[in-house]
Assembly symmetry: C2
Homo-oligomer: 374 residues x 2
């Protein structure tokens, strides 16, 4: 990858590695969140795969990971090359604006010209070359002053993703595919999703944002000046070992919890400042077990996907997915589209059709005081 592409020499990736992935319980837990799991059977965790996808863009020294204190050891085990200056530990989760905004503010404080790009730690992208081509264009758009995102060309009327409503072509040097985002739209119903697929004007919102740190922070400040002030106070003290701790203790608890969709994506789109680079690579946020099953089966619904290094599965006339984290024999007979997740202290049995409802179990367990298995 050439670093001559506009802005790429000033590019820095941010990986917000938070979020448990409740719909993937009991595989994903508070102490073993989704991004630490190998959900593709590739041998790499989602986090590691995200890192490997980004490292060639600006080098492994230019990727910052934002994660919870509890996950520090696990993250460092996954990424031995991660340097201390590139780890931002959250003392408590404050949603994506704070996570990404703080990383951007720290990086901006270190280099006012930095261009940052934020990429979730728990998404799956198979075609890394196509991904990096899209990011390179997004960086060029960012260099030109836009907040850029990568929109995924839909392959089906998915109801589990948000969409970006796209407008006309933008003329940005180094970003020949860039188009303007008209608006972001929430997860649609099936009828609407079919219309989106048919009209060719809608892309999936992959939740990737690339911008000059300065521009991103200004957008956050427009939406929530108090939050920006907190982030800048933290960033200013961050690299001073004596000041970081007290500043975090004072400022962190007051940070607003708000998703970056509301502080950045939607207002930037409304203001015509959001450029979309269409990406036609396979992308999935692996939001539930049905999507993992689909990922493994390559679309063949008759298949049974088996996840787990030591999985021992005997299946007869069965399809769906088995996730095995124990060494037990798992036997399936005549169960279609089944989801079986076998862990040492919890077992889930559901179907692909009900995979989205797994979150309700997590809620029920919380209510009943069983957070030891969450």
């Amino acid at each position: 990858m050439s670093k001559d592409a506009a802005g790429l020499d000033r590019f820095y990736s941010i990986i917000p590695a938070g979020g448990i992935g409740s719909r993937l319980w009991p595989l994903s837990r508070a102490d073993a969140p989704k991004f630490l799991h190998d959900l593709t059977g590739s041998g790499s965790s989602l986090l590691r795969a995200t890192w490997d996808r980004l490292a060639p863009l600006a080098g492994p020294d230019r990727i910052m990971v934002v994660t919870g204190r509890a996950h520090r050891a696990a993250v460092e085990e996954q990424i031995p090359e991660l340097i201390d200056a590139n780890v931002v530990l959250e003392s408590e989760p404050k949603d994506s604006t704070a996570a990404i905004g703080l990383a951007a503010a720290i990086l901006h404080h270190r280099d006012p010209d930095v261009i940052v790009g934020s990429f979730a730690a728990d998404h799956v992208i198979a075609d890394v070359r196509a991904f990096r081509r899209a990011v390179t264009q997004a960086v060029a758009a960012a260099d030109a002053g836009y907040i850029a995102t990568i929109g995924i060309t839909p392959t089906e009327p998915a109801i589990g993703f948000g969409y970006i409503h796209c407008g006309g072509h933008l003329d940005i040097p180094g970003a020949p595919d860039a188009i303007v985002a008209e608006s972001f739209v929430e997860k649609p119903d099936l009828e609407t999703a079919k219309e989106y697929l048919a009209d060719g004007k809608h892309l999936w919102n992959g939740g990737m944002f690339v911008a000059r740190a300065e521009v991103l922070l200004a957008q956050i400040g427009e939406s929530d000046p108090e939050l920006l002030a907190g982030l800048e106070e933290l960033a200013e003290a961050w690299d001073d070992p004596a000041r970081r701790g007290p500043t975090v203790d004072r400022v962190w608890p007051r940070l607003h919890k708000i998703a970056i969709d509301y502080t950045v994506a939607e207002p930037a789109a409304a203001a015509g400042r959001l450029a979309v680079i269409p990406g036609s690579f396979d992308w999935d946020d692996v939001g539930d077990f049905a999507s993992i099953a689909k990922l493994h089966a390559g679309g063949r619904s008759s298949d049974l996907a088996i996840l787990g290094k030591n999985a021992r599965v005997l299946a007869d006339s069965s399809s769906g997915i088995v996730v095995s984290q124990t060494d037990r024999i798992i036997s399936l007979i005549g169960v279609r589209d089944i989801v079986v997740v076998d862990t040492p202290d919890a077992l889930l049995v559901t179907t692909s059709q009900n995979a989205q409802r797994v979150k309700s179990v997590v809620d029920a367990l919380k209510l009943s005081g069983r957070s030891d298995v969450l």
Copy 2:
């Protein structure tokens, strides 16, 4: 229960406690066969419930249990009142004619006038009074020289049971309901089962046989003289501690393996020597998980039966049965007619419709050398 009923003072029950119950894997195992489990949620194992059903008939001293050497400790734990003289340990399984025939031969050797009744250790009968009334009539029929059985009045066109084709009424003192058995018929297809249910001439074969030991042994001898000779040789030496061991070692390996249906029930029916006492109590041989589920649901298919003292099940829109032998949280979402059997080293997930196919898993595990979980 009055012991004045004809023959009841000479009655002795035999409980053959063998058979793993492969269709109930992984709950039933070689080292934890079906009869040792509480499948009804009553708090008693099937063996213990069988014992408790029989004890009032002729007293707890007059029940003999035939089981494998490996199950001696478990059987004695279930039935502390079982005396040594009433335990027959099989050195290897030789099917039901040998098991029941040996017990009958031993009892006959001790008391030539004894009337024996054989009752499987792993069937479920809720109405014990109706059961004992039927046995009392069967004993009277046995006293009159018949081989008697109890036929269960069908409540549905079951295809999982054998049937008894019944003929005319018999005039036996003390057995007013006795009718003659025309023949035994194997498990029918659904069409035939519907005809059986409609014609009123067919009863389910509950596998219970009552006869004077002398008559039973003579019937075995007619069918298989060699087998009878072996059983009598064993019985004659049984109560002599010095001779039992060597005799068992010499004779046991040569005993023919054959079900009592072929040596006793069918030939006796063909010869007009088999009397049937119709029993209108609920009876089930709990042959697979679907029948356990049905037993618990009381016929309501929307229910989820939960077996296991420490079961912790979170179910949402699910029906069927969960058997829990671990302390894991088991969560079901939107799975209908499901069968989940959760044990420390093996997990089964299937449906009621496929419950009969569980045996094929057991066969597959045998073939693949995984008898450690069988």
